[in-house]
């Protein structure tokens, strides 16, 4: 954390104007796991957790300067890794004529699809915080953005790298082996390397939106390399979910230096929102490509009520031919969203990701509603299925690695189906 705090301290914020705003959210979460844990260290079926996320804003210079500070702390009952803190944002935005600079720790999202955020690469995933990968760690950056008639260009200088967070041995869901704190880097500068990114986006008034991006730097997705794991240990691990006593192997995250070019396309035509994200990445084994494409369509006013029913269909494909990853990923996402458009903003979202290669399914159900003005409650369920066990030793070996490295949502968290209730209070 040292290097990004250093970047943050470069910020000088005049503390003169009284226009400060303080707000935030605090939440409590309870989980019930419907299956027994295969790991003795994580042998529990209920877990409590909570977080607090205060937000401080300050504007001055006729709103041309904006300061934001958002720290984040989560406490978890069982998993010491999930008990963690972060600075989600500590930034200064300055708006000029046709350009703006954004300096400090920030979060940036790129992309249009729902299934996999292939193009999104600026921030590291806070994997231990949320299994859906939507939660991100703050990234130190200097970002210049220019707005012209022909589009918006963003240039990023990214000093300091954030390692992905993983559940600990007591965590549910967790990786089959614990993930080591001693990450390996391809760059000799390790986590001090300065990364670069650029993105061009344009919107055309015929409903077409386009973005092209390139990232050059340390990969946000590490390859998890199992160290000192014999085939016997691996087979024991797969068969029983436990290692023979006495063996204590770990996954070591390996962060390669990569170049990734990304394309985002979106086309809106009479209520159909067509989406495509594609990437080509080199530096992590052989160059590979991945595509996520599909559509979103909303049926308005279902059965003459105020309820809308949205459909999301996407196909996800990846031609990664790395020995440490899958030969081919080919997933289908089907999602439906009921929006009741009521006073409480009630929503139900159901999604299934189906892996066409080995017929694994990840099912998620989310629903939320508001109580009063400041309270929001949500219920969430996540279920995973996998059919049959792989046959040969090599298939076993590939399976565990593939699951960890290119399909993080599925295999490794099998036997960690859960139902979750969360209550968020906004202050």
């Amino acid at each position: 954390m040292k290097n990004w705090l250093l970047t943050a301290s470069l910020l000088t914020v005049p503390l003169i104007s009284p226009a400060w705003e303080f707000r935030g959210e605090v939440a409590l979460e309870g989980r019930y796991f419907t299956q027994d844990s295969p790991y003795p260290q994580a042998d529990y079926s209920t877990n409590g957790s909570g977080y607090i996320k205060p937000e401080v804003f300050h504007e001055w210079n006729n709103r041309d300067d904006l300061f934001t500070f958002i720290p984040y702390v989560r406490v978890d009952e069982h998993d010491s890794e999930r008990t963690h803190w972060d600075i989600r944002e500590l930034s200064w935005i300055h708006v000029g004529n046709g350009w703006e600079s954004r300096v400090g720790i920030r979060k940036v999202f790129w992309g249009v699809t729902e299934g996999r955020h292939l193009v999104d690469i600026i921030n590291q995933t806070d994997q231990v915080d949320q299994v859906d990968g939507e939660e991100k760690l703050g990234q130190p950056m200097i970002n210049l953005s220019t707005v012209r008639d022909w589009g918006i260009v963003d240039v990023f200088v990214l000093p300091g790298f954030r390692e992905r967070t993983y559940a600990g041995e007591e965590g549910r869901p967790r990786t089959p082996l614990p993930v080591s704190d001693n990450a390996q880097y391809e760059s000799s500068k390790e986590n001090q390397r300065v990364d670069f990114a650029i993105r061009y986006q344009q919107y055309f008034d015929n409903g077409l939106e386009l973005a092209l991006s390139h990232f050059s730097g340390t990969s946000r997705d590490p390859l998890l390399v199992p160290d000192s794991l014999t085939l016997a240990e691996l087979q024991a691990l797969i068969a029983s979910g436990q290692l023979p006593s006495g063996s204590d192997p770990e996954f070591t995250p390996l962060y390669n230096v990569i170049d990734q070019t990304g394309l985002e396309l979106q086309y809106l035509n009479s209520g159909w929102l067509w989406k495509l994200e594609a990437i080509s990445r080199s530096g992590q084994g052989e160059r590979f490509n991945a595509v996520d494409g599909g559509f979103e369509f909303t049926q308005v006013g279902l059965f003459d009520t105020a309820t809308d029913l949205g459909w999301i269909v996407e196909y996800i494909w990846e031609d990664r031919e790395d020995s440490l990853a899958s030969p081919l990923a080919s997933d289908v996402l089907l999602g439906t969203r009921f929006t009741f458009n009521d006073v409480a903003s009630t929503e139900i979202l159901a999604g299934i990701i189906y892996d066409t290669q080995d017929e694994e399914k990840a099912i998620s159900l989310e629903s939320s509603r508001r109580f009063g003005n400041s309270l929001k409650a949500s219920l969430e369920a996540r279920f995973y299925t996998d059919t049959g066990k792989p046959q040969s030793a090599s298939a076993l070996y590939r399976d565990v690695l593939r699951n960890v490295n290119s399909n993080p949502g599925l295999g490794p968290i099998s036997r960690s189906d859960f139902v979750q209730a969360e209550l968020v209070y906004y202050f």
Binding site: G98, K107, F109, Y203, G271, T298, V300, S345, N373, Y426
Partner: protein
């Protein structure tokens, strides 16, 4: 002219003496154009809005938002607007950017602050409720003259004023209405009341505007708008305040970059 109106126009032509130079359709359009032109040239404005949602049993729920609008200048372009949501608190910081057009669907983007994500709104949702209120998305959007055809019905007293009663027909096939009957005063061309008829031709809602104030010696804005849903018994009161004109807004305040830092 809309094909649907043609038989009505023919009937009118047959039934009225030739001395009547203007058809009801022409007069309706003229009134709509006049009302529109009286709102033209405002440049830009900002205002605060509070919505009070009232259930059938009288329970209330509040929503607060702020609106920034820049007047459109081009032939096809309508106004650009930025809506920032302040309450309920779980949607705080959410912002909506709208580019309206005279003859086609608006372009709309929603900024979701928790995800730092800008999402395109697939804009077929016209009849759906805006934030759970009795105002639908199409009620909240720019009322461009070209989006309707018109028919003048009659003159009628409205309070101390005399109003034109004009019927208008949405051109958009995704509209939730077959027709709207509006009461527009003959002095200042302010809309005081609108009856909305649903797709089954039954009276759905009534909008009543009141507490008008004049800004820049020209532009009239209502301080209160009440929408009553006759079919559900629910209603929404919308209160406008803090109207400011000439606030120095420009094109650069209405793009995806400014949407992401809208506060």
């Amino acid at each position: 002219m809309n094909a649907r109106l043609l038989p009505a126009a023919l009937l009118m032509a047959l039934a009225t003496p030739a001395v009547l130079a203007q058809t009801p359709e022409e007069k309706g359009l003229e009134i709509a154009r006049e009302a529109d032109s009286r709102g033209e040239g405002f440049g830009d404005f900002q205002a605060d809005m509070k919505m009070v949602l009232i259930s059938k049993s009288g329970q209330t729920s509040d929503r607060e938002l702020r609106v920034k609008t820049l007047e459109g200048t081009g032939e096809e372009e309508g106004d650009k607007s930025l809506t920032i949501f302040d309450t309920p608190r779980d949607v705080r910081g959410t912002a909506m950017l709208t580019f309206s057009y005279k003859t086609r669907d608006d372009d709309q983007w929603l900024y979701l602050p928790a995800l730092r994500r800008v999402k395109t709104i697939a804009s077929r949702n016209k009849s759906g409720p805006f934030m759970g209120s009795e105002f639908s998305f199409e009620d909240m959007r720019g009322q461009e003259v070209e989006k309707y055809t018109y028919k003048y019905l009659r003159d009628e007293a409205c309070g101390e004023l005399t109003c034109f009663v004009v019927e208008r027909y949405p051109q958009d096939e995704n509209s939730g209405y077959t027709r709207q009957v509006s009461w527009i005063d003959q002095q200042e061309y302010r809309t005081w009341k609108v009856d909305y008829y649903d797709r089954k031709e039954s009276l759905l809602k009534t909008l009543t505007a009141s507490d008008f104030s004049q800004y820049k010696d020209k532009y009239w804005q209502p301080g209160k708008m009440s929408m009553v849903n006759h079919q559900t018994g629910k209603s929404t009161d919308l209160f406008w305040s803090n109207y400011r004109y000439d606030t120095g807004l420009s094109e650069s305040d209405f793009n995806k970059n400014s949407l992401k830092r809208a506060r």
